[in-house]
Symmetry: C2
Subunit: 324 residues, 2 copies
């Protein structure tokens, strides 16, 4: 039988709930159980299992790798939340807010090692390859986070810089998750590259979609406040594209809205007005669609049957639409 | 020829200076070069090379593992300095002080991955073993740091708890460094265990010695302020042993000195007076000597010639005496 992404996501959730994250001292391990059981769609681990299924691997064996990427991803959230001073994660206090900064740093470090411990349980013949892509990915995710923080104070960021940042911050870990599942299941080098590309491009498309929805979602369908990126002057793909396309008058209108003392509502509607004049919604949708098409093109080239690819297509579509 | 520890330490220093730690973005990589070139005796990496030499291995190949433990150790210093709010490291500003907290968190994370990248360059046949001891060690070092932080606010810490804490915080990484060098060079399982034990016990002895010197070193021979641990109410091996041995009157004298508003000089001389009454210097020296003897006993059991063991004995003696 072929598992849907929803079924594999449930298997990951069950594995996480059954996993023993406890240890001594409690101060170090309690935040790890807490973080790991906060929920989420378990996208990265599910992708890992879907790739293992795609290449005919043993899903039980691939589960260790799925857990490795899930623990790693949650480690990055714990450290990112300190840096971003984000008090809330999935509707609950972030670790640094519930405990303190030091606990968040050190528990995060332990999670990072636990990810490597899980990775080390993968196919021994592929360990060197898996370690290599995992190391490279971990470094790139940190680079992405640093670029993201740098962008806040830089005024020369281009839409191209932004795409590279989201590739590092989001794309490469989706890609790595898939590739680990592929390695575990003995995929060919060519197919392992293609599944990586699929994940990388899906990640970029997803992040552009996220920026788009922040401006254009219906409030009732959207978890966050619509317009939140505009209110916080975030340099999103939409904003950076707008600034590149804007004439002097439009650029100064955006500049004024970002710096002057308007209400949030005036700011959002003022920026969206410029976006409309510059056809930014179309530009964003088209960029997103291009990356999404490229991801599917990579998936298409993989030597596997369409029914085995179908759950990956469905997960990618879910990410694009933000639908269940 | 057989290299002395001083010669191998110099080789590590040269390797570090030749190593390219640069990368993009600069904000992430500059602190790494900065940290790695702050100096130090390179104890852990030198131990790794000495173990490789002991078991007839190729020192060039072992250098990657030596670098792995050196980068890992420096990563722990970067994160520990945030947690301890220590502004100075080796006479220069700590990373979080020179840059900021976020840079220190994220650069530290990258160093952690770099340690794994270096580890992955070790003997491929031993990769799984090496990864296993490295992971276990990294977790234990974090546990040691968390215990150390917990001890600051706990009032039920025993000397035994303290020994376990310094074993985790210091002993296991010395042990791991040696064992990686042993694995790389194809040491037997028995010898790999013995060299681990040597390092673990040396680490504990060294840390007790460090506590002893903080009270009893001559100021001109000591890098820090003599009595600093007493002034800052640190729960050292000496203090915890004293509290276990003290009668009610002595315990209350220590308690008073720790909580009342005396001068630093009065506090140090008052605590040392109780230490003398309880023969704490002898107890500390004897505990240190026991661990040191145990470490040498483990080294003695290893199947190798005495001249190959000699540089390890000399490095251990240097650590005990704090002499060059």
């Amino acid at each position: 039988m072929i598992y849907s992404w929803q079924e594999l996501s449930k298997q990951v959730e069950a594995e996480i709930n059954a996993f023993d994250f406890s240890g001594n001292p409690n101060e170090l391990y309690d935040p790890i159980s807490y973080t790991m059981t906060l929920g989420g769609k378990r996208i990265r681990s599910t992708l890992c299992l879907l790739a293992a299924q795609l290449f005919g691997g043993d899903l039980k064996k691939a589960m260790n790798l799925a857990m490795a990427v899930e623990v790693f991803h949650n480690f990055t959230l714990v450290h990112d939340d300190i840096m971003d001073e984000a008090p809330i994660r999935r509707g609950k206090p972030a670790v640094h807010a519930k405990w303190n900064r030091d606990v968040a740093i050190l528990s995060g470090d332990v999670m990072f090692v636990q990810a490597y411990q899980l990775l080390a349980k993968g196919n021994p013949e592929k360990l060197s390859q898996m370690l290599s892509v995992f190391n490279q990915t971990a470094i790139e995710v940190c680079e992405g986070q640093q670029f993201d923080m740098n962008f806040e104070t830089r005024d020369d960021v281009t839409a191209e810089n932004y795409i590279e940042m989201i590739r590092l911050k989001t794309g490469v870990l989706l890609a790595c998750s898939l590739q680990l599942g592929a390695f575990e299941s003995g995929a060919t080098e060519k197919d392992a590259k293609l599944i990586y590309e699929f994940g990388e491009k899906v990640g970029i498309a997803f992040q552009i979609q996220d920026d788009f929805l922040d401006c254009y979602a219906k409030q009732e369908d959207f978890g966050k406040r619509v317009g939140g990126d505009i209110i916080s002057n975030k340099k999103t793909f939409l904003m950076l594209t707008a600034l590149e396309k804007a004439d002097a008058q439009q650029a100064s209108r955006i500049e004024n809205l970002m710096t002057s003392d308007t209400t949030d509502e005036q700011k959002v509607s003022g920026v969206l007005e410029v976006y409309d004049e510059l056809d930014i919604p179309t530009a964003a949708k088209s960029a997103m669609q291009n990356y999404f098409d490229e991801s599917l093109a990579a998936l298409n080239q993989i030597e596997a049957t369409a029914d085995l690819k179908q759950p990956l297509v469905e997960l990618a579509e879910m990410l694009m639409m933000r639908k269940k």
